[in-house]
Chain length 317, copies 2
Amino acid sequence: MTEDREIGYLLIHRSYEKGALSAEATKVIFPLGEKAMQVVRQIKEMQKISDRLRKEGKRIGFVPTMGYLHDGHLSLVRKAKGLCDSVVASIFVNPTQFGPGEDFQRYPRDEEGDRAKLDAEGVDFLFIPEATEMYPSRYQTYVEVTEVSKGLCGDFRPGHFRGVATVVAKLFNIVKPHIAVFGEKDYQQLLVIKRMVEDMNFDIEIIPGVLVREEDGIAMSSRNTYLSPEDRKRATVLCRSLAKGKELFESGERRASVLSHAVKETIESVNGVSLQYVEIRDAETLERIENVKRSAVIAVAAMVGPVRLIDNIIIGR
Amino acid sequence: MTEDREIGYLLIHRSYEKGALSAEATKVIFPLGEKAMQVVRQIKEMQKISDRLRKEGKRIGFVPTMGYLHDGHLSLVRKAKGLCDSVVASIFVNPTQFGPGEDFQRYPRDEEGDRAKLDAEGVDFLFIPEATEMYPSRYQTYVEVTEVSKGLCGDFRPGHFRGVATVVAKLFNIVKPHIAVFGEKDYQQLLVIKRMVEDMNFDIEIIPGVLVREEDGIAMSSRNTYLSPEDRKRATVLCRSLAKGKELFESGERRASVLSHAVKETIESVNGVSLQYVEIRDAETLERIENVKRSAVIAVAAMVGPVRLIDNIIIGR
C-alpha cells in the first residue's frame, strides 16, 4: 500500500573540491513508522531527546562505538534493537583513551558509510559529538576503575581504561539509556564498564554482545584494515591458538598454566607475530586463577607487524 | 475544612533498652497534599521513586548532607523547595572523604532530630543509604576533578575531594535530580561539584546556597559542636578576619597579597588558633589571582584547639 510509506533522503556522497561542496542524495522510501535515523551532534539536544523518549515510556538502548563499523558493531545494534523501543548509537573516536604514540590520528574513519549502515539497521538516533564539546578547555574530570583496569591491556596501554571509563560515563549522562551493549571482543573493557556501572550506581543494564569473527577466524576489528595481506594471514594464529586452548580445556585440562602455555607456544611459532600477553582469568571478576573451576576467559594481545591486535575466548561457559 | 486533612504518624522517640524496642508515636494532621516525608534506605527504591517522579513531569531538587543538620542545611532545603516540585534530601556520612586520623568515627549523628527537621521543612523523600550498599566489597571506582581539587583544603585533606566527587556522582545517579543545592560554606567543594557536573555532562543544575552564620558570626557547621566554650570564642576570629578583608577591599584595596596579609595578621593575633591557609582566589575558577578584578573568594582554614574550621567570604560580587 503506497500510504504505508514515508519519503526521506539518503545522502550517498559528499565532497569538498576546491572550496565547493558537492552532494548527491537519493530519494528513499521507508515503511511508515520506520523513520529515517536522526543524526544528533549537540550534547544538550541528545539529552532533550532522551528525556522526551523516557517521558514517553520508551526503553532506550545504547551502542557506543568509535565508528568504522563492521558486522561486530552491527550485531550489538541488533541486540539493542531486540531489547528496546529506541536505539541510540554513537560514533566518537575518544582521544583520551589513546596513549602517546598510539593510533589516534590515523584511526580509520568513515562517517558516511557508518551512517548508511546504522540507518539500514534501524537505529533511531546517531550521536556524533565534537571533541571540543566533549573536552572543552579546563576539562579535568576522570573516572577510574582501579582493579579491573590492571593487568592485560591495562599494562600495555597506561591510561587507556581511565579514558574509556570517563568517556562512557559522559556518554551515559548524555544518552541516558536503560541498557547499553558492549562487545566481548574488548573483554577487559566490558568488565571495566560493568564494574563502573555497579560502583557508580548508573541505573543502566550492561548487555554483552558476542565476539564476531571474519571468515578466516580473525576477530572483527576496525584495526584489521591496517593489516597487510601477509600480516593478515599471520594474524589468524591468534584465533587458532585460542581454539587450541579451548580444545585442551574441553579434553579435561584445568591448569591455567598448561592452557596458557599451549596458547603461547602456538602464537610464538609464527614469525612476525610478537606476543604481548596470554592470560587466563576469571570471566566475571577478571581475577587471576590457577585452575579453571568456573567460566574463564583466555585473552591474548600481540603485535602483528605494526598492528596491535587482541582476541579472546570464553571457556567453561 | 476537616476534609482538607490527612492523618499521619510522627515518630517522637524510639529507644532500645535491654533488648526491647520502645517507641512513642503521635498522631499528626497534615494539610491534604502535604504528605509526610518518606524515608528511603535502598538504592534501587530511590531510583524507582525518581523515575516515577520524572515520568509524572515533576522537577526534582536534591540536597545531599552528612546529617546533624543546622539552619545552614535547612536554608538549602528551602532553596530547593522554592525551585522544585519534589525535594529529596540525603544523609550519608561518607567514609571515603575522610582521611586517616580525621573525624569519621566521631562525626556527630542525630538521625531522629534530622528527620524531624527535614519533615518540618516539607522534604518529600529522605534518602539514608547504608555504607555497605554504597561501598560493597570489590568497590573500586573513583571520580577525580584534578585541578580545582588542588590547593586550599585539597592540600590539607589529601583524597578528600576525590571522595566527595565520587559520592556525589553516585548520589546523582541514585536520586536523578534536575537541580542540586550545595552551600557556599564549602566553597571549594561547590566548585569541584560544578566542574564535575560540567565535565561529566550530568544533566543537573547546581545551585549555590549562601553561607549561614550563628549570632556570634561563626559559620554554621556540624563540627562547631566539637568546640569548647573557650575555643568557640576564639573561633570568632575567622569571620572577623574575613570581614576585615572585605572592608579593606571595599575601601579600594585590590592587591590579593595585601588583603590576605590583613586576614592572616588578624587570625594570628589570637592564641590557640593555628592558621592553615588564607587564600584569595577567583570565585568562579578558583584560580590564583594577584589583583581582585572580578568576584573573588577569601578562604581560610584553621585549627581552633583540636577542631578544624573553614570559612570564606565573597568580595566583588
